[in-house]
């Protein structure tokens, strides 16, 4: 059982690298969709000894929202704004992968410094959660396209979700559902904002946001 949890967690890291290396927006959307499904699988695996109805509810909600609803919505936004590639990010793709590797090493170091008090699902869980968060934040700051920033936000939320699933055992179901709902509405609002940005600026390039400054 441990090996399957480890493999799922490692697969999440591979999706992170996929996000860091892709310039095509459709590939990025596919990456977060994969992450969503993997999170559902991770949920099932970590709770495999007591699969209550609330675990199933959370799995369905997580996979439904993160794996299906978000990618569909993002795909629709993508088709509407008619941008398909991130042409010139602030930090190039090879460097992004190398920074991703550095982030992974940093997360492993942090993970070794934070010993979990309770039962441990996998020694890789906390480092991978942190590295997914770092990947998400890195995408937000290093990419110019507004849609990529939303995808970075989703990746960061996925990292936090991994942390929540593997490290925390005593959270109320309503809180987790509320969190998922909030993220859903947040992405929805961001998508609407991207529509408006595209209409106003004729592009979704955040680099053009330079009129408000001191």
């Amino acid at each position: 059982m441990g090996i399957w949890v480890d493999s799922t967690i490692i697969f999440i890291v591979l999706t992170n690298f996929m996000l860091l290396a892709s310039s095509r927006l459709a590939a990025l959307v596919r990456g977060v969709a994969l992450q969503g499904f993997t999170l559902g699988a991770l949920l099932l695996l970590t709770h495999s000894d007591n699969l209550t109805y609330r675990v199933w509810l959370l799995v369905v909600a997580a996979v439904g929202i993160k794996g299906i609803a978000f990618p569909m919505f993002l795909k629709r936004t993508l088709n509407n704004i008619n941008v398909h590639r991130e042409v010139e990010p602030y930090i190039g793709y090879s460097l992004s992968i190398l920074i991703g590797i550095a982030g992974l090493l940093l997360s492993l170091w942090i993970g070794s410094r934070l010993p979990l008090p309770g039962p441990i699902v996998s020694t890789l869980a906390i480092p991978v959660a942190f590295s997914t968060m770092l990947t998400g934040f890195f995408l937000i700051i290093s990419r110019k396209n507004a849609l990529t920033q939303v995808i970075g936000y989703l990746a960061a939320e996925n990292g936090i979700f991994v942390f929540g699933v593997t490290a925390v055992h005593s959270s109320s179901i309503w809180v987790e559902l509320g969190i998922l709902l909030d993220v859903l509405v947040a992405v929805f609002v961001m998508g609407i904002a991207i529509h408006h940005i595209n209409k106003e600026f004729e592009s979704t390039d955040v680099d053009r946001f330079s009129s408000l400054k001191d």
Binding site: F137, I140, I160, V168, S171, D182
Partner: protein
């Protein structure tokens, strides 16, 4: 019941606003809801309502204080908003800054989002459960983003996007803090501990220290982004300067306070676990840093709304500093929360009037307010005096209390920096405000001025009166509440 009403009545009214077609009756929803909300809040002063949902919602001293501030400010702002919406042109008009044609968002969306905003802020003040608190703060972000984008042009869109992204990332970090806090709870056999403030404080020193401290750091950075603590404040000047004045008033006066409340709850748990000094030192550091950053950016500021936004950063720094010092300074910080909200709300409403009269946000182009729009001009000068801490206004009393607290506990270097930064900010703002109000208005503006209407002048005037009264005499019930709130934070 009262608590549930406080949250759900604005939500229902907001949904009603989406459905109503008639503009005037939709605008009336705002004052009506505000009056109901204030009545319920006032009743809570006399008769403390009991906990709801198993202790997840509870009105303690801190919550009641911030709820009252929010409710009072929204009451005044709602009347202002009715006048403001009445004066807004329908359809398209020209942007005075860049000359682009733009239009407003549909009014129904604006009114509805204002009411949802009130509901979510109320949720934050009532909440004792950390997870629900997170949901509430995220809800305030989502409810206020469309409000910033009311005037639909490029700059407000840029401000809205920055607000959405930065605050969402900050709140994601706060979620991490919540998870770390959950880990800090020791494993108990059975049903587990609910993540409610009182339960966690009861656990006290049995919480795992490392995880608790890590959780507090994440909460501070995450909710601090929402509160406007430097260096996480970068969304604040843009959002406050591009949104309509009534929204800026609510953002500065109510939302920043609620975000601070979200930081105070983990501080309570931290103090109960014996790690209070760690958290308070961080608050002092961020408080002084915020004041310093605000001082740097206020000097030479050319946009008066941005100046007020940086002033909000400064005052949030003062409040954080006061709570961080503890003791008498905590009382001063709580009093300052009240004073700052009222004064800042009034100032932003006044800027709405200035903008309507002069059609520019540039401080160099505004002149002779005292002649052109006299009542607004007087309020502007009074507000400036109040916000920079001159007697006889309220903020003077609260800032002085914080200073006294600092000197009493021996934080002399911090006190010196505090006074120095306050002086710099005073100098920065004086040159701007006095130049704007005195002198003669230029020919172009004289022809453009519209007469001041009561609805946009009386609400700020009321707030000015309240601040003056608070500067001289703090009513006893309010004093008792402030002491109660401060004692919850380990002060007096």
């Amino acid at each position: 019941m009262v608590l549930l009403g406080l949250i759900f009545i604005p939500v229902v009214m907001g949904l009603l606003a989406l459905v109503l077609r008639h503009d005037a009756s939709r605008r009336l929803l705002l004052p009506v809801t505000a009056v109901i909300h204030s009545a319920l809040t006032a009743s809570a002063w006399f008769d403390a309502p009991g906990p709801v949902w198993g202790g997840w919602l509870l009105l303690d001293g801190l919550g009641l204080l911030f709820l009252s501030i929010t409710s009072a400010l929204f009451l005044v702002a709602s009347f202002y908003a009715v006048g403001y919406l009445g004066k807004e042109d329908r359809g398209q008009r020209q942007d005075f800054q860049e000359g682009v044609i733009f239009s407003n968002a549909p009014e129904a969306a604006f009114v509805a989002c204002l009411l949802f905003f009130l509901a979510s802020m109320t949720l934050v003040t009532l909440c004792q459960h950390f997870g629900l608190l997170w949901v509430g703060v995220e809800a305030t972000t989502l409810a206020s983003a469309p409000l910033i984008y009311f005037h639909r042009h490029r700059r407000s869109l840029e401000a809205t996007w920055k607000y959405l992204m930065i605050c969402s990332v900050g709140i994601a970090l706060a979620l991490m803090g919540y998870l770390l806090l959950a880990i800090a709870v020791p494993e108990t056999p059975g049903t587990g501990v609910p993540m409610v403030v009182s339960e966690l404080m009861r656990l006290g020193t049995s919480l795992h220290t490392v995880w608790l401290k890590a959780a507090f750091i994440f909460f501070l950075v995450g909710y601090g982004t929402k509160m406007g603590l430097a260096p996480l404040h970068t969304w604040l000047p843009d959002a406050h300067s591009e949104s309509p004045s009534v929204v800026s008033a609510l953002l500065s006066g109510a939302l920043l306070n609620c975000a601070f409340l979200a930081i105070l709850r983990p501080l309570q748990v931290l103090s109960a676990a014996g790690e209070g000094p760690f958290g308070r030192e961080l608050l002092v550091f961020f408080g002084l840093l915020s004041m310093a950053v605000a001082a740097i950016f206020i000097l030479g500021q050319e946009d008066y709304k941005r100046m007020l936004a940086y002033s909000s950063v400064e005052h949030m720094g003062i409040i954080s500093l006061g709570v961080g010092i503890g003791g008498g300074a905590a009382f001063g910080a709580m009093l300052h929360a009240v004073n700052h909200s009222f004064v800042k709300g009034m100032l932003f409403m006044v800027t709405g009037n200035i903008l309507a009269a002069y059609k520019t946000k540039n401080t160099r182009k505004v002149q002779g307010m005292l002649r052109l729009i006299p009542v607004t001009g007087v309020l502007w000068v009074l507000g400036f005096l109040a916000i920079t801490g001159s007697p006889p206004f309220g903020p003077f009393l609260s800032e002085f209390t914080v200073l006294k607290g600092m000197l009493d506990t021996g934080h002399t270097t911090a006190a010196v920096m505090y006074l120095l930064l306050l002086a710099i900010i005073f100098i920065g703002m004086t040159s701007v405000v006095l130049k704007m109000s005195q002198g003669a208005p230029s020919e172009a503006h004289q022809s453009m001025a519209s007469r001041e209407i009561y609805a946009t002048v009386i609400p700020p005037a009321l707030l000015a009166v309240a601040v003056t009264v608070l500067g001289v005499y703090v009513p006893l019930p309010l004093q008792a509440l402030l002491h109660n709130a401060a004692s919850l934070l380990g002060g007096s």
